[in-house]
Amino acid sequence: MWQAIKSVLAAFLGVQKDSRRREDFASNRPGIFIAAGLLVGLVFVVLVALVAVLAAR
């Protein structure tokens, strides 16, 4: 799972090593990446919203 989250974070940044993505795609378990994507996406939204709320004060 941690690997998947790291890959998803890399995706958010838009930078990924070729070797890492080979590992990712060797695992053949898309479910875990989708779950990680949703999780990180959610965290991202909450984080930005939090910053916005704090900044608006």
Partner: protein, 374 residues
């Protein structure tokens, strides 16, 4: 090779044009409020950031195009990733953006602070005019396009402020914090004056807030910015900023005029008076849809020879006062005075060969309005 030269010439030309682009009339106005200056400087900062990034990226690109031409025997390298470089060119824009977000957030918070206003003005968008109401001052009026039709149709010479002039401008005092409360009677409009850096949608059923503190007396012009139907181009905003004393005088004059208008509803009006006033009101308010010759256009019905209207004067008055829901025919209950309603109804029943001979007195309208208002 020639291709490249043209590309580079194009690049140089656009670089050379940049100073021209920053000259007046090509760029966002600096404006006359503290906020408009803040916004202008945000605009210029982000503009120069874009220019710098553009020079670097396009520079690298054109260098590569020039240096590694196949026709000059360039051999392609084989690298296809470099993680640290990628991380760097991701991180730098991220940092720039954070740096940009900080001042933008501060400016935005300032824009949203509508508290402690010295004066409240209600701005109501209508197809296709603005109505201004000085809350608590008993002053309200409608501001229509001032440019004559001939100039638009090309039969007359266009004036200096073509399409940016109105019959009655919004008059505001300088140095005061004026809160604008915006709404609409029909579709969404947007009230915009570039020099004041105020643009806010006027939405039916909602009241939006914005504010302005003008620093210099002057006349500032803008337009409706949200597509609102056929005459969207013809509902300008003109703000006249004056010194406080001048503003107080003006406000007193307007209050007196409003009182006179209200009291004149009580007296008897002659047919000629009603027709003259009616023609004026019709031209300012009704003609944009029903046309100056009363023939209507498209979905807007003709009034000349309109039998339903000529048969029943009460029906006619009801349409003007209450509008027709679900159509573009607005309610003019709050927009027009009793005198204006009486005059325009009388005018419509007697102009363009309608010749019904009917007339209605302002006092009758005032009575009806009072009844319906209860």
């Amino acid at each position: 090779m020639r291709t490249l030269l043209v590309w580079m010439a194009g690049g140089l030309a656009s670089a050379a044009l940049t100073p021209v682009a920053l000259a007046n009339g090509w760029n966002m106005p600096v404006g006359v409020t503290a906020l408009s200056r803040d916004i202008y400087s945000l605009h210029m900062i982000i503009f120069w950031i874009c220019v710098i990034i553009g020079v670097i990226v396009f520079g690298a690109m054109f260098y590569s195009l020039f240096r590694y031409r196949h026709s000059k025997g360039a051999k392609a390298a084989t690298f296809h990733e470099h993680t640290s470089v990628e991380v760097i060119w991701t991180a730098i824009p991220l940092l720039i953006l954070v740096g940009m977000a900080v001042p933008a957030t501060a400016t935005l918070k300032n824009m949203y602070d509508t508290s402690e206003a010295d004066l409240d003005v209600m701005v109501t968008g209508q197809q296709w005019r603005w109505r201004y109401e000085y809350l608590g001052e008993d002053v309200a009026f409608t501001s229509n396009l001032g440019t004559p039709r001939e100039q638009i149709d090309g039969t007359g010479e266009k004036g200096e402020h073509y399409l940016l002039e109105v019959d009655k401008p919004l008059v505001l005092p300088v140095g005061q914090k004026v809160r604008l409360l915006l709404t609409s009677d029909d579709v969404i409009h947007s009230w915009w004056v570039p020099d004041l850096a105020v643009k806010q949608d006027a939405i039916p059923g909602f009241v939006n807030e914005n504010w302005v503190r003008i620093e210099e007396p002057g006349i500032y012009r803008g337009q409706c910015a949200e597509l609102c139907g056929k005459d969207h181009a013809f509902m300008p905003v003109v703000v006249e900023a004056v010194e406080q004393e001048r503003f107080d005088e003006w406000l007193a004059e307007r209050q007196q005029a409003a009182e006179e208008e209200a009291s004149s509803a009580d007296r008897e009006w002659s047919m000629d008076e009603l027709m003259a006033r009616g023609e004026q009101t019709y031209g300012a308010v009704c003609a944009s849809c029903h046309q100056a010759d009363g023939q209507g256009a498209g979905n807007f019905p003709a009034l000349a020879g309109n039998e339903a209207m000529l048969e029943d004067i009460d029906w006619h008055i009801d349409r003007v006062v209450n509008g027709v829901s679900g159509t573009a025919m607005a309610s003019f209950r709050n927009t027009l005075s009793a005198v204006e309603i009486a005059a325009v109804v009388t005018y419509e029943r007697n102009a363009w060969g309608n010749d019904s001979g009917d007339s209605v007195q302002p006092s009758e309208i005032a009575e009806q309005l009072a009844e319906q208002g209860e």
